[in-house]
Symmetry: C2
Subunit: 180 residues, 2 copies
DNA sequence: AAAACTGTACCGACCAGATGGTACAGTTAT
DNA sequence: ATAACTGTACCATCTGGTCGGTACAGTTTT
């Protein structure tokens, strides 16, 4: 049988993301998300039993996305670090400016929700440090990549588009040199 | 005799910072801040006519602090970049983990409040790029420094203390090499 | 096959507590 | 006295969340 038009979890998360991007992270309330996703509050809370659950799912989703992206790039790249840097570029473009700021801010209310991000970071770090000889240089490039992400996320980057592009290329070059 | 005004403003901001650090950014409410700073809500709103004003002041204060710190270090350092990196170390230690997370999250509700941070970043960038020959390397180190700050701010750093210390030293060394 | 039942997806009214903010009367310092 | 300051009481609004109920597809019982 044909399923009725059901609002999926993904649609709800997308709606929440949109609200965050358009009106700021503080405006991501259950009422607002419900309305934006075409549900009543009751219906929304049927899918996500609490706001915390919603935000947690959003964080997880974002992380999964980033990871998937990175893995698909990793196949065509020799170095883990290079794929990480390239994935970052795609990532920040996808979340364009402030889409994911929501998650940061909302998660800040429940700092525990940021834990998966730390775990993810740890995993990536371990992977990237497979060659201990270039440890410091590698960590430096990872950090710079993080810096770029956060500046973009919060829209506080002092760099021009041109500078960012040049920087990205420079970082990738450096990373490639490490493996040669 | 002694005017209490200035002291009080600072005390209030400190109280707000403490709440953020202890209970999370979302718990920084006017009631909570008033109680923590030992005055009533009326008193609090006398000093800061709105919550936005309070947060704005906190952001400004933090920036001023960082700037003052950096300037005092700049006197004893040859390179602007080196002093920036050293200032960062002091900064993250001072705000210890999540003290300033408050500002990030609270400001996310009013994204405009983050603007001074961007301006500050731009100013620093311009200053640091006084030597255009090493532009890319300089920006890379700046970015890595930012990355370190944000990871610390949100408590999502994957690095061990030892790794962080080593990294810091490595970055400073690199910065010093740039000027020689 | 009709009736009874079950589970999923959803709605809308409602609630207790929190929140930012106001009004205003009282107190203190100069 | 008067300006600077503080405290109490209060309010409109919002927030996350509960709850009873509905529609309806599929399943089981009779």
């Amino acid at each position: 049988m044909m399923k009725k038009l059901q609002i999926t979890a993904q649609q709800i998360m997308q709606a929440a993301l949109n609200i965050a991007a358009e009106k700021g992270a503080g405006k991501v309330t259950l009422d607002a998300v419900a309305k934006a996703s075409g549900l009543s509050k009751g219906g929304l809370l049927y899918h996500f039993p609490s706001k915390e659950a919603l935000i947690s799912a959003m964080v997880q989703h974002l992380l999964d996305d980033a990871e998937k992206n990175r893995c698909s790039l990793a196949e065509s790249e020799s170095s883990v670090l290079v794929s990480l840097l390239k994935a970052r570029r795609v990532f920040t473009q996808a979340v364009a400016g402030n889409t994911a700021m929501a998650i940061l801010a909302a998660a800040a209310e429940h700092p525990t929700l940021l834990q998966p991000i730390q775990q993810h970071n740890k995993k990536v770090l371990a992977e990237v440090l497979s060659d201990p000889a270039t440890e410091l240089e590698t960590m430096l490039l990872m950090l710079a990549s993080e810096g770029l992400i956060f500046q973009e996320l919060l829209s506080i980057s002092p760099f021009s588009e041109a500078q960012k592009t040049t920087l990205e290329q420079y970082m990738i070059n450096r990373a490639q040199e490490l493996t040669t």
